[in-house]
């Protein structure tokens, strides 16, 4: 390929971004996948407990968080599209918007955690809350890590570090951020809705 921008109708050997991040993405998918399945089978052993405890969750804040993360993920798609046309500033603005929504997600999540911890619920209260808190806290930390990555990319983009020809970093950050969103898309219905 003369230039390495991604023309729309061409099949590429590797996914966008650095292949190393994809090793990490698949490893995280595996880890979360095992946790999701563990949740499902733990639920199978004590359905009443899970159904009853699930009532106390704040499903609204979970749903809003899903919308927030999907939109933030969409912003990253726009950021990648912008940088493909060499628009560094526009790309940086899209990333900033994505990080902004990231903070919104964290804020909602922290409010939800405070409410939960306020009632004295902890990792050892019962199996459901152990899974609920472990999964959401584990995901919560991934959101923070993702925002650190996006911030690093935004700074580099602002300094014109990326161009139409070379923007692997942006695609790497975007792929990781999409993974964080993808995991929440499964986590929300599994933990908050299915009963």
């Amino acid at each position: 390929m003369i230039n390495n921008t991604r023309t729309s109708h061409e099949i590429h050997a590797t996914p966008p971004g650095d292949l190393a991040i994809w090793f990490f993405i698949y490893a995280e998918l595996l880890a979360f996948g095992v946790f999701f399945v563990a949740y499902a089978f733990a639920r199978a052993n004590n359905v009443e407990l899970f159904n009853e405890s699930q009532q106390h969750l704040n499903r609204t804040s979970g749903a809003i968080n899903t919308l927030v993360l999907i939109t933030s993920s969409y912003f990253m798609v726009r950021a990648v599209a912008a940088i493909k046309q060499g628009l560094s500033n526009s790309c940086a603005r899209w990333i900033a918007a994505a990080i902004g929504l990231g903070f919104v997600f964290l804020a909602i999540k922290i409010a939800e955690f405070n409410a939960t911890f306020a009632t004295g619920i902890s990792l050892s209260t019962n199996t459901f809350y152990m899974f609920y808190l472990s999964l959401t806290l584990f995901h919560f930390m991934h959101v923070i890590l993702g925002m650190v990555i996006l911030a690093a990319i935004m700074v580099k983009a602002l300094r014109g570090g990326y161009s139409a020809e070379n923007h692997i970093g942006v695609e790497t950050g975007a792929s990781y951020w999409h993974m964080v969103d993808l995991l929440w898309i499964i986590l929300f219905p599994l933990v908050y809705v299915i009963r």
Binding site: P15, F36, R59, L67, S73, Y74, H178, I185, V193
Partner: protein, 93 residues
């Protein structure tokens, strides 16, 4: 994903974004009704699977990569949702 930027033309990714938002709202609505049962579970889980596939293929751009990378995500998704369904069905009988 990078068709030239023409005004008043809704990008594919925006359409995908809208679809995802709507599907999320439906899942939330189902949750609010408090229904339970296999049919409801399958709809909710099915919605999640569709949403994940949309994010993986359109947002993550796996649509235009070799089947290896798409297959990995799809395979993982089918395995996880399959096991969740099995676990759920175990409790229904």
């Amino acid at each position: 994903m990078d068709t030239p930027h023409k005004p008043h033309f809704i990008r594919p990714c925006t359409r995908i974004w809208l679809a995802l938002m709507i599907l999320t709202c439906t899942t939330f609505a189902i949750g609010e009704t408090g229904w339970s049962g296999t049919a409801v579970m399958l709809t909710v889980l099915g919605t999640a699977v569709i949403k994940v596939e949309m994010v993986a293929n359109y947002f993550m751009g796996l649509r235009r990569t070799r089947w290896l990378w798409r297959g990995l995500v799809l395979g993982w998704l089918i395995l996880v949702s399959g096991l969740i369904t099995i676990a759920y069905l175990m409790t229904v009988k």
